[in-house]
Each structure stands twice: as C-alpha cells, then as structure tokens.
Symmetry: C3
Subunit: 343 residues, 3 copies
C-alpha cells in the first residue's frame, strides 16, 4: 500500500479487512510494534480529532512523530514552472522529497482553499506531495477527500451491523460558512462501495461535482447498491442512516457573499427529530454546529453515532498505518486478506 | 483523584504528600513508569513554563503526549442550547468526550477571556471540559485558578522550611495589561491552606472576588492561619514572603481603557528593595515584567525564589500526574498518605 | 562541547570528525542511545527542514523532545535594565534558566528582526539564551549564523569528495524580500575553514559585514585557502560550486522599500544554466524561490545538491548532538579525534 488518497481506490476486500481490524483494535487487540520508524504529520489546516487521533495511533504502533504545522513553516507553491516572486517561499517539489528523507511515511492535511476551483478540483497540494515524495503519503483530508474519516465511518457502520442494503442519506445542511466537499465526497463513495442504497439530498445548485457523482454511481453498480441525487429535504425521513454535512456550491466557489445570498432561505436544511425515522441513526464527522446543522435533540439523543465515529478515527488510523507500514518495518500485515488482494 | 481544578479542593494531607513527593523527585527520586498511557495537553492560551514542564513531566513518567493548541483547532463553544451560527465551530460537548476517547487524562489551559465576567467567574471552558470528559481533567490554569503553580509554590515554601505561621503578602502591582485572577486566587488559597498569616494588599477596587475572599477566610480558619485584606502598599514591609502579581479590577472587567485610566497613578505599586524586609523572600509565577512589577535589584538578588518556583513546576506536576494516574496504570501511588485520605 | 553558535568556533579537526560521522550515519551507522535525556527545541521563527530534522535527530538518539514555538509563548525581551512596560512579557534572563531546569540542552532559532541593526549584529536573542542558560545552547539559526546548515553543507562537500582547493562562489541573488545574513555568513566561513578558494559575489552595497569578511579572510589564511569579494555576477562561471543565496543590504537594514528600490535592476542576479560551468554543482539551503533565485533547469538538473544538503541536515545534527551530549549521558563520544582536540 503506497499511501492513501481516497478510500475507494482500495480493493473492497482491503477496506473490509481494515474495518474489521479497526474493530479488533477497539476491542483491545494489541497493535504491531514498529519502533524506530517515523511518521510525519503535516497540518496545513486546523484539526482537533485528526491531530489527536493520528498522534495517538502512531504512538500505539511505537512510531516516532515528526510534526509540522502550516503556521510554523513557509508558504507553499504547487504550480510547475512558476516564477516564485510572490508569497510562497517553498515549492512542494522540495518540501516533499526533503521530508521524505527524514520519515518513513508522510500524512498531509490540506483543505480546499476556495481561491481557484481548478486547483481545488486538481487537489494540487496533496497531489504535489504524493507525486514528489519518496515515501507513502496519506491524506488527513485533502481538497476533495477525507479517507480516514470514511474508514472510521465504515468501521462504525460495520460495528453496528448496519445492513449493507440499508438506506444512507447524505443531506446538505445550512451553515454560516462555505465548506469544502471532502467529507461529502468521501461519504457517498464509502457508502456506495459498501453496497448501500445511497441518496444525496441537497438544494439545487449544491450537487457534488460530476466526477464524484459518476464515481459513486460506478461504485454502486460494482458493489450491488444504488445512488441517487434529490433536491428534496424530506429524503432523510425514511433513511436508516442520516449523514449530515454542509458544503459550498460549485456555482459560487470562493464567493462567500454570493453563496450566503443564495442560501438565505435554506436554513430549514437542518436535521431535527422530524427529519429522522424511528430507529434511524445520525452521523456527522464533527466539528458540528449545534442547532444549525443538527438540533441538540438529535445530537444528544440515542440516535447519534458521532462520538463513536470520532473514537473510530483512532482505531481506523491505527489499522491503516499498521497495514501500510508492515513492509517497511519488515513485518507481516496483521490483516487477513484474500490472496488476490494486493497490498 | 479525578482531575484537578484547584489545590484547595484536595485534602490538606494529600497536598502535604504531593509537596513532599515533589521535593523527593527534585532530589533525584525515580518517578513511576506508566508506559502505554497517554496524556492530552490542550493549550488554549500562551505558555512557556507550563508547556515545557508538562511535556517533561509526562516524559519522566513514560507517558505518551497528545498535544493540541488553540491556534490549530476550531473555535470552541461552551454555552448549552446555543445556535452555533457565529465563530465557534466546535462545542465542548463533543471536544471533551472525543479527546477522552484518545487519552487517559486531559490537561487544559484556558485563561479568562474578559468578554463576559459571568462566564469567566463560571470558568466555563475548564468546567465544560471537566463536565463532559470521561477521563480526569487537570487545569493548567483556568480563568480562576492555577493549581499547578500553587502546588509548585507550596513545594517551594516547604523546601525552604518557611514556617507555616510566616507572613505571606500577596501584593498587587501595576502592569500595562489587564490580567486574570488565577494566580492571585490560587496563591491566597494555597497559603491559607498551609496555615500561614496571609495578607492581600491591593488598591481599592482591585480586591479579589468575594467568593475567593470567603474561601481564603475559611481555609485560614480551618488550618490555623489568618487572612486579611488591605489597601496599604506598605503591607509588604514586614512580610516573610512577598508574592507579587498584577490582576484586573472586577469593576472594569474587559474594559481595558477604563482600567488603564483608573491605574494611572498606581505605578508605585511595584516591588523594590524598599518593599522588602531584610531576609524576606520574593515570589512570582513568571513571566514577570522587570522594573514594572518588580525591580531588577529584587529579582536578581538572593531574595528571589522565582527560578526555584519555576523548576518546581516540573517536580510538582510529575508528583501530581504520578499520583493521579496510578490507578489507571494499575500501580500503587508512591505517596505516603494517612489511611483516611481519599485518593 | 558547550553549545554551538557558529561552526568556525570549533576546532577544524572536530568539524572533520563531525562531518565524517554524519556520513557514517547516512550510510547506516547506529547512533548512540541517550534515553532519559531531554532536548528543548525553541522556534522563534518559521522552519520546515530544521524542525523536522531536529525532531528526527533527537529521536534517533533516544532523546525526549520538549518543544516550544514563538507563537505559543510570550514576547521576549533581551535588553538589560529595561522597564518592561511594552509588548514583551518575558525576559530571556528568566526564560533561559527556567527552560534549562527542564532539559539537558536547548536549541534556539531566532532570525534577524530587521528592527535594529545593532541588536541583529549583537545576535541578542541567541546570545541572551546562551549567556543565561545553564545547559548547552545550540543555534538552529540565529541572526548571524546557521551552524547546522554549515555542517550539513560541509558533509555534503566531503561526501562528494569535492577538493579542498575547489572554487566555491557564494552568489547573491535577487529576491522579493529582505533576508538575513546567517546562511551567507556561515557559508563563507565553512568554505574558508575547509581550505577552499572562496569568492563572495554580490552587487555593490550587498557585501557581508566587515567582521564576517575579516573572519573568512582569517579562516582562509589559517586553512590554506583564499577569500575574495567581487561585484561581478559572472564570477560563478568558473566555479566548481555555485552556492546561491539572497540577503539584505546592510546599508538599508530594515527599510524594505529602500532595498526594493535599490535592487530594481538586479533581477538578473539569478543562477541559470548560463551561470554554471560544465560539471559545476549547485547548492542552496532551501527554501528556494524557483525561477527567481535559481532557474528550474538548474534546480531540477543533475548539478543540484539541494536535496542531499537537506538530507544531510538530519545526519549532521545527529552527529552533533551525539557528540555534544555524550558527557551528559555518561558515554564516550563516538568521534575519532586527535588527542589534542578539546571536546
């Protein structure tokens, strides 16, 4: 396994095995010990869960941590051939190989910047690191995907024995800010890869990017599920799983005023007890705006899975790093995989 | 021991034992080894001593460190029932249990914010973590108290065999900024709990909060000491211990201009050699404004205990964590405690 | 060895031995194990390579890391006798001994601040720490020198068996910002100490400080090399090693507008393939402005040593810390040194 950009790039059998291993670790299995290896953590965007759970996952595996944050390093350039006479002092063509010479794997968080849609759609920062590093690079959320959240969410669904044919509705919600698509994209792909009946519910104009829609459709077809898009906020009402998330409209990318105006009448897109069928479960990646994205009554009630999702971040990441670094450490992977699945 | 909010909440015998253990550690005793446990450090405010000494204390105990700072995470909400459509993106109701699922104990620094006196008096951020975490939470300075400083100061006094009936004067000093009450509150409570004769000297209008005055009076009564408040700057002149600190007036909380105007004529509230009796000792929690709070002549002379206080931060914290985590680690506490003292 | 301010303060035999040890470590030699010792890292300025490689070097030696950054601590005062009623809340007279009581050695990064040339020339922050600490203090780049870069560069030259009489030209380049002199100063001193034929090429008005010129001349004389200054940008054309770096003019220190105006016509001071003889090598400390300081064609071509220089940061620092802390750890230094060389 040479890094991780999105969960759907992994063989479904490997995703199964990683989810199962996460659950074993949650139940107290002993992680492998990779003492002497080092993991780099590079945060170019804020984080609570990811920072804390990646630090802990690395420690459980005996890894040393080399930690950098965007605020303590140089502005980063990703374009090729550019004359660097503006703000950016360091090019990813140096940053990536240099860090590779200090660590055995590199984890990078870099959000969509909302300055240039084309760059965000190209996921230029993560791809720059991935292309120029000489060690595996793992996304801790890029502009387009959040594979570690997706793996934790997958483990959460598996632990609760949610049927692979259950209905999961990812619903857009109102939010005071304009947010990236990474979690939304990852959620529809994770759920369709799991074979679920997946619905994306959002106001007109807030559909995810065509390439993601196409990927979710292909994953649904390949894994026995379905994928539909609707503009009906009531789509959540017969869901088994309601996954809430806000994201920006591709039609007004980077134009916060235009987006705010367009969504003035959309504050009703909030998950409340009325949005949920009896027995339905609520998911969110956190942090969540209480009584904006979801009402307290849902979040503090028995339907909410958000704390388990967050806890599973630790176990999913431990499982992933354990598998990814086994060859570097000269160990066998603890995963039970069918023979045909490549590492 | 389930976390620590203020030193005075501990049984006086436990405080004695922790102070003695800090001194043993200072003299080279070997700390317990708690390998495999993890300590979370969450800094929502600046720090030099606390950051460095908490990192080191944890390492001496073999703990793994999960470290977060306010600047790298999301804005935090603490109010219940609020509609989160403003700046704060994360509620302590999620942050606290989520972090609890990654670590065995959590240490939080969160200063008074001077925006809302009621919230600062309620110590909303620390109390929010304490209430919603599922692991012990230790204050690394909250709006109202700084128990780790108090324990280090207590160990400093004990190491120097300062009589329990010595006179300690906590004197307000002029300062260009408006500062929180945490160290001042903690100092009067630590010293009265130690049975000392304690005087709070400050200009009119700068008295500490009534609840703290009442607590110090109760501690003095219970432990054989005394507590008085005076507006006389000369109160330091017959003290055995002069403890200097600046803090904001409760009458103009959050109004820096009003406070600055009120204290225009108060720059004489500075500790100089003239403020000190022969043989008296000088204490301060650091950082200290030289020649504003205290003159160089005092700070650089033999009366100053500030470097020993700072060094004792390390030993006091090691002692505290060692005792607090012994049950989690499945060990006996190294403290020699009377049987009736609860852990 | 009691800390490190600049490479030239070390005995040339010690520099040789450290360079050799760095190369051994690069080839897989096992570093010494100093478990139980702690290294403080204090970053008062941004960093990518230095942060990451110092963290890793310490881990390879089994050291615990106590880490602080300028953004998370108090403003620092360095002047003696000052009335601290302005921005700085902490004096180095406290910060240095306090941190010394927590760690076994302290590494400090503090750039020139361009506010007061006299202070930058006095290297007040690093010297303040060095003077008031009670443990060895290592510069991770001060206002005037960058000894760890110099040692890594030295090891790079030695690994490639560059002749000690090769010609190294340090050439100034245009840059949109005004940068410190530390790397330039360190490069001319490292190369003259190595006995090389060294040329400093810069526009009139951008010469390094007289004291550095004098030091480089003395090092050249003592070590069998030569040192010259020229204002001719073509000086690189017969160099074996072209080392590029931009730095501010001492004539307009802290006046960015004046400097920008003075260098309006100097954008041609850029290293391109035309600047380089066949077989010449290109060096830079990184981060580097592509197509401003050096063209892509040079940086991405076989002449470039920049990635090896950066990798050698790790090995050079491991070698340095290993030697510096051997006595503290109660070990023998792994360096093979002539008997007369002091530690």
């Amino acid at each position: 396994m040479n890094g991780l950009y999105k969960l759907a790039e992994l063989d479904p059998n490997l995703v199964d095995a990683l989810s199962n291993r996460a659950t074993e670790l949650r139940r107290g299995a002993t992680p492998a010990s990779y003492e002497g290896l080092a993991l780099g953590l590079l945060f170019l965007a804020p984080s609570l869960r990811t920072q804390a759970s990646m630090q802990r996952a690395a420690q459980l595996l005996g890894l040393d941590l080399v930690q950098l944050s965007g605020s303590s390093m140089w502005g980063l350039e990703t374009d090729d051939g550019v004359i660097m006479d503006s703000d950016a002092a360091e090019h990813v063509r140096e940053a990536a190989p240099v860090l590779s010479s200090y660590v055995d794997a590199l984890c990078v968080r870099s959000f969509a910047r909302f300055e240039d849609l084309a760059k965000d759609l190209a996921d230029d920062v993560f791809k720059g690191f991935s292309q120029h590093a000489t060690v595996p690079v793992v996304s801790m959320e890029s502009a387009l995907f959040h594979p570690l959240q997706a793996l934790a969410d997958r483990a959460t669904l598996d632990q609760l024995k949610v049927s692979s044919r259950a209905k999961l509705v990812l619903t857009w919600t109102w939010h005071p800010r304009s947010l990236p698509h990474a979690v939304a994209n990852s959620t529809v792909c994770m759920a369709t890869q799991r074979g679920m009946d997946v619905v994306l519910a959002c106001p007109e104009g807030w559909e995810l990017h065509d390439s993601v829609i196409a990927e979710a459709e292909a994953l649904a077809a390949a894994n026995g599920g379905s994928f539909q898009v609707t503009n009906d906020p009531d789509a959540t009402k017969d869901a088994d799983i309601v996954y809430a998330k806000s994201w920006a409209s591709l039609e007004s990318w980077g134009d916060h005023s235009a987006e705010s105006f367009k969504k003035l009448e959309l504050r009703d897109w909030q998950v409340t007890p009325d949005s949920m069928a009896s027995g339905a479960r609520f998911m969110h990646c956190l942090p969540v705006r209480r009584n904006v994205v979801v009402s307290d009554a849902v979040l503090d009630g028995p339907a909410s899975l958000v704390l388990r999702q967050a806890e599973n971040r630790l176990h999913a990441q431990t499982a992933l790093l354990e598998h990814m670094l086994c060859a570097t450490a000269g160990c066998e992977s603890p995963l039970a995989l069918p023979e045909e699945v490549g590492a």
